[in-house]
Amino acid sequence: MNASLTEQELIVLLQNDKHRHKAFSQLVERNSQSLYWAIRKMVLCHDDANDVLQNTFIKAWNALESFRGEAKIYTWLYRIAINESYTFLKKQRSENKISMDDEASFLAQKMEADTYFDGDEIQLKLQKAILTLPEKQRLVFNMKYFDELKYEEMEEILGTSVGALKASYHIAVKKIEAYINND
């Protein structure tokens, strides 16, 4: 299979029983890194991100027949990844009997204890500041600040208006700067 398939070509192959498996493997190779990082920024620990990433692709595989190409493949996958991340975080809160107010400190402790956390003091402080944001705002902040997505791209993925995204990001920045500078 040609590695430089266009988006449309890939969609056609994904709809074809004979080529679906190979086309999906291509899809995994192309998108797993960026999806991993989007997930990791939400769930923070590598093992959890790995689980959520697997679930994302399994969900995508099972939903292939209903995917008609109205959205870009990456947009579609990103939405699944976000939903799977939210589901994971909700399940984690439930299993550990954590309220949403206590979740920030729970996740911060878990992140610091993770073998695959490799940050300095300011990076740790930044991540802790981000954890104080509501879930959706945290996602918006990560998408804009770290991934440097355009608001229009974020609008397509999240279904939230550009205006609302700008406001959310602006408030997030203020909160984070206040947290970082509050010694």
Binding site: H21, S25, V28, F117, D120, E177, N181
Partner: protein, 110 residues
């Protein structure tokens, strides 16, 4: 670097403080391929899958429909039996002379 001694977000290093195992993405892709290679579990129709339980439930209901009226009748009989047992017990505990005296006094008071 601070402006007015305050850190601003756009001045911070944006590199992620997270790492992952070596060759993680290569292994991930291979692992996913293996997972998707597993044959999808066949969808078994509800009735076929739970057939034995449905049959057992139907037999149970049939037996219950037959047994319940019989049980109710037996309950009635046992109530009568219990009442008879109780009368016999009371009779054994009360002295006959005391009973005669009681009845006589009761009749007098009426």
């Amino acid at each position: 670097m601070k402006t007015n001694n305050k850190i601003q977000l756009d001045q911070l290093d944006k590199s992620m403080p997270f790492k992952m195992p070596e060759n993680y993405f290569e292994q991930f892709a291979a692992n996913m391929s293996g997972q998707l290679n597993r044959p999808a579990s066949k969808r078994v129709p509800f009735f076929t899958h739970y057939r034995n339980y449905i049959y057992a439930a139907a037999v149970f209901l049939l037996l219950a429909a037959i047994a319940f009226p019989i049980y109710q009748k037996m309950q009635g009989n046992s109530d009568i039996m219990l009442a008879e047992d109780y009368k016999a017990y009371i009779a054994s505990e009360i002295d006959e002379d005391e009973l005669i005296e009681y009845v006589a006094v009761a009749n007098y008071e009426e």
